[in-house]
Amino acid sequence: MPDTIAAVPLMPGLRPATGASAPLVRRPGQVLSQVDLLTQAVRLAAALPPAPFVINLCEDRGLFILALCAALVRGVQTLLPPNRLVQSIEEIVAAYPGALCLSDSPVAGLAPPAWLVAAPVDPAAAQPPPLARAPVIAAAWEAILVFTSGSTGKPQPHPKRWGDVMACAAVAARRFGIGPATTVVATVPPQHMYGLELSVAVPLAVGAAVDAGRPFFPEDLRLALARVPAPRVLVTTPIHLAACVDAMGDWPEVALVISATAPLSGELAGLVEERLGTRVCEIYGCTEAGSIASRRTLDGPHWQWYDSASAAAQGERCAVTADFLPAPVPLSDILKLHDDGTFQLLGRGSDMVKVAGKRASLADLNLRLNAIPGVTDGVFVIPAGEAPEVRRLAVVAVAPGLDRAALLAALRERIDPCFLPRTLVLVDRLPRNETGKCPRERLLELVQARGGGAR
């Protein structure tokens, strides 16, 4: 983003003439217009207690957007936790004292100050005065901090400037042909970078509408798509697509399917294109940089950078620069850069693992495992044969006095559920060698022996 731009609208996609009727959030039986949402956001901003930060835990996408816009109007940073574990939220509150949690449903076990966000009882009844002017936001202000689990055992913040968020969203919308007439239906949470960009930022930036729900089962998805008008864009992941391809029922017309968080096989992309009569594209990105490239899966393994994005080699790795990034961002994946400006994905940096589309640092997982009282030594293991995407992790641990159930329960409080080990082996000693490392072959032997070798 050029440094000359000082301010950016909170909602660049606001259509001044028709904003009162331009749909922004759709839910069964109700359409919330752009102006309605802005009015509600201004009201909520005034009603919130003073707080230096806001943690946005809303699961309803419409209420998430409302809470985010209220924080923007208020000039307060929004913090987005890496998962819904109480421990993660408390770690963030400890680092950002006074943070106010905004949620649309009570979070069990959560101690920090919390405020329940609810839709106004009758949005149509109280006719608000028209907004004096559409809110503007300082472009260089780090309005949102997206947290990953990091690699140090503590959540790591990734600040996003509002101008960059809107600029990248505009670039993405152009790439995918998303405009004011489009409705986005997403299965991914708005707190994660991908959901934040495609289901929150893009609608705000270009005036598209978004479905307020988070459909889960294939039937939910089918119904959610059918309830909104065409053109429809589905924002989802390979896991949901695999489930939908075999699902029964008549699927409505979908203009485009966008997939991210894990590699999508050409085979599955082909089945989705055929079953839904659509095109399937993928996004490549990471929390650090946001989304930066895309491809139509069936066109082959070459990715196209978003407009203004490019990468430069840094040893074996590379760093990406773009107009919508404040500085070059090193990537932990291994890319092969081609002369024609495209690139291929070769692999992942060795510390990072992805399970079901969620990224974790093995170093971070190991730190959390070893922080459990009663665990004297432990290590996460990627089981053999788990390629290209890891289905489940395994753990080998020394934990005298703990049984498997107790250790699993302790892990369940500390890490995202998808990283919980399917095979958990308790041993007297880890097979460490002279340098203190555990040879992978020895760990695999232990994992396979416990698993009974059956697969």
């Binding site: 294939p218 489930a243 075999d246 699902a247 489940r392 919980l420 399917r422 698993g451």
Partner: protein, 86 residues
């Protein structure tokens, strides 16, 4: 099909579909929770299980069904839902 044999059939479906290596179907307590505690399944498992149930028994699961939580509460409740809707 006798009550017991549908129960074990669904138990086998769970173990096979989700590749629960450490578990034999007969070891699943029919009344223990499937998700969170008990078997400790998560949302990804729920998706895969819903798909397997749909393909095997023609029973579709949806979050709009108010009884969904109850359906997935245990092996027994899932079996009963399948039996009632197949």
């Amino acid at each position: 099909m006798s009550e017991d044999s549908l129960l074990s059939e669904v138990g086998r479906l769970i173990v096979e579909t989700l590749q629960l290596q450490d578990l034999r179907p007969e070891e699943i307590d029919p009344d223990a929770p499937l998700f969170g505690q008990g078997l400790g399944l998560d949302s990804i498992d729920a998706l895969e299980l819903a798909l397997a149930v749909s393909q095997r028994y023609g029973v579709t699961l949806s979050s709009e069904d108010p009884a969904l939580r109850a359906v997935f509460a245990s092996l027994r409740s899932l079996t009963e839902h399948i039996r009632a809707n197949r």
